[in-house]
Amino acid sequence: MTPMLRAIVLRLGSAALTLLIVSSLIFAALEMLPGGFAQATLGQAATPEAVAAFNKELGLDRPALVRYLEWLGAAAQGDLGVSYAGGSGSARRDIATLISDRLYNTFFLAAYAALLAIPLALALGISAALWRNSWYDRVVNTSTLAAIALPEFFVAYVLIYCLAIKLNLAGALSNVDASTGFFEHLKKATLPALTLTLVILAHIMRMTRASIISLLDSPYVEMARLKGTRPAKIILRHVLPNAWAPIISIIVFDLAYLISGAVVVEVVFVYPGIGQLMVDAVSSRDMPVVQACALIFAVTYVGLNLLADIMTTMTNPQLRYKA
């Protein structure tokens, strides 16, 4: 096996193990409910008989391990269980159907923001490193330093206040549904996407600049200078290829952040994504929905990190070519 293949197989195994642990943690959350799931769903006033009947109906009287494996198996096949919002009496909704549209919306928003933010952040980061200590660098640096610390809802409300209310350029709310067309969706998702862009742009840009600058002291960069290489070429040819690994990790970290950071933004813009669903489920303590959402977030997060690891491995010549 080549070193690269081995590294990739190792990472796959590690990601699978992480997912197993994460899913058991999420499953365990239900077990930790004070008073149990039945009481939480039926309310404090439920009689012991009602609780027992509820548990028997859902199979909650069986061992936790059996239920965990069933839950995991079902989730792997796309069956995420049913929602109990509104107690046992009201109609139970299938979570997978509840989630699918919203999942699309959330990924739509995240992809939109990523497409705006990543190219811009890389361009800003590389140019700031190139012209470091110039006025341009200082302005970009200070403003991103500030932007990085802003809460999402602050950015969101400032954008709403300025762009939607005062300038009337866009709608303040992003109410889309399954019937919304693609371009209409794009238009309505612009303000939330801009908000997320501003939030991750600063982070990616700063890390890109920092990874480049940290390599400027390395002996091979000094060597390049002593070979009379042009400053721009030093950055692009000698520094950037070695800076990719940290930059990729940062981009993926921020993509993962986009998915979960979307929670707040979705709530602000009343955008029907999975984050908003999860917040509602937390408020009503609708545990199956909370678990399903958390599992989806975790799978996405682990998957993205795996992708970053594999990409980093592939850009490393020491793993690509054996010594």
Binding site: T18, V22, A29, P151, Y157, A281, S283, V290
Partner: protein
């Protein structure tokens, strides 16, 4: 060395505190004063209704009243106390748990270190806010749960830093020397390693605080963090959010209060990091 000599000695280092750093320090100081002396500064009580609901700015009070007729200025002032206090408590818990477990993992036998790191890695694989939401759904929405839950989640980051900082020290020559001298594990942990990991951990405190502070505000904004009638900035934004549609900047005030503090902390940290970097 006089100041001027020092300036001449080092033209490459930023000699003065940058303006952003000075401003940041002043803002942080002001926030601390407001948080500590909230009852003395606030014109009205935290939950006191002083008049009609939704009075505009300048009428009856400097910043008007909220949807229940409470004084917005007073609630902002009490909010400083609540939000900053809870965030500080949470960060302290995070460092206590994460720092000691990270140190333990660095000197523990391999199996224990592996087990601890696996669990912490898995916890870190669930996004911060999402894990907080799950746990808040389980344990309910109260301040104690919030502090414990966020403190524990944040401790995963501190754990990782403490372990990463302690690791090179554990295999360093001076710890090797201590081991073959026959020192006990506690001596190695507390006398050899701890003094060397405290400085980087202290430097991290500001950053973690700012992160915890933002997370608490976000959770309160989502309605699952600090609960009414306790005044806190995140929930104040949420309470007034509908007003923005009518062109009122009301929800921007508490949001700006949060932003100003975290931006100031970042400016000060940036200056401190640059200063430390310049020394080496």
């Amino acid at each position: 060395m006089t100041r001027q000599e020092r300036a001449q000695a080092d033209p490459l280092q930023r000699r003065r505190i940058p303006i952003s750093g000075v401003a940041g320090l002043m803002v942080i100081a002001a926030y601390l004063v407001v948080a500590l002396f909230a009852p003395l500064i606030a014109p009205h009580g935290e939950a006191e209704i002083i008049g009609q609901a939704l009075l505009p700015m300048g009428e009856g009070s400097l910043l008007g009243t909220d949807q229940l007729g409470r004084d917005v200025l007073s609630r902002l002032i009490y909010g400083a106390r609540n939000t900053i206090g809870i965030a500080a408590l949470t960060t302290a818990l995070s460092f206590l748990v994460g720092g000691s477990l990270g140190l333990l993992a660095a000197v523990a036998p391999t199996w224990l270190e592996l087990a601890l790191s696996r669990i912490f890695d898995a916890l870190m694989a669930i996004p911060y806010l999402i894990l907080a939401l799950v746990l808040l759904a389980v344990f309910g929405r109260n301040v104690t749960a919030l502090v414990v839950i966020l403190g524990l989640i944040d401790s995963t980051r501190v754990y990782r830093l403490a372990r990463a900082t302690a690791f090179p020290i554990v295999v360093s020559n001076y710890v090797t020397a201590a081991r073959i001298r026959g020192e006990s594990r506690s001596w190695i942990m507390f006398r050899e390693i701890l003094p060397n990991i405290i400085p980087p951990l202290v430097a991290e405190f500001g950053l973690r605080f700012s992160f915890v502070f933002l997370s608490i505000s976000a959770l309160s904004f989502l309605g699952v963090g600090i609960q009414p009638p306790t005044a806190d900035w995140g929930s104040m934004v949420a309470e007034n959010k509908t007003l923005i549609i009518y062109g009122s900047p009301a929800p921007l005030l508490p949001a700006a209060a949060i932003a100003l503090l975290t931006v100031s902390i970042n400016f000060v940290l940036d200056w401190l990091v640059n200063k430390a970097g310049g020394k080496q």
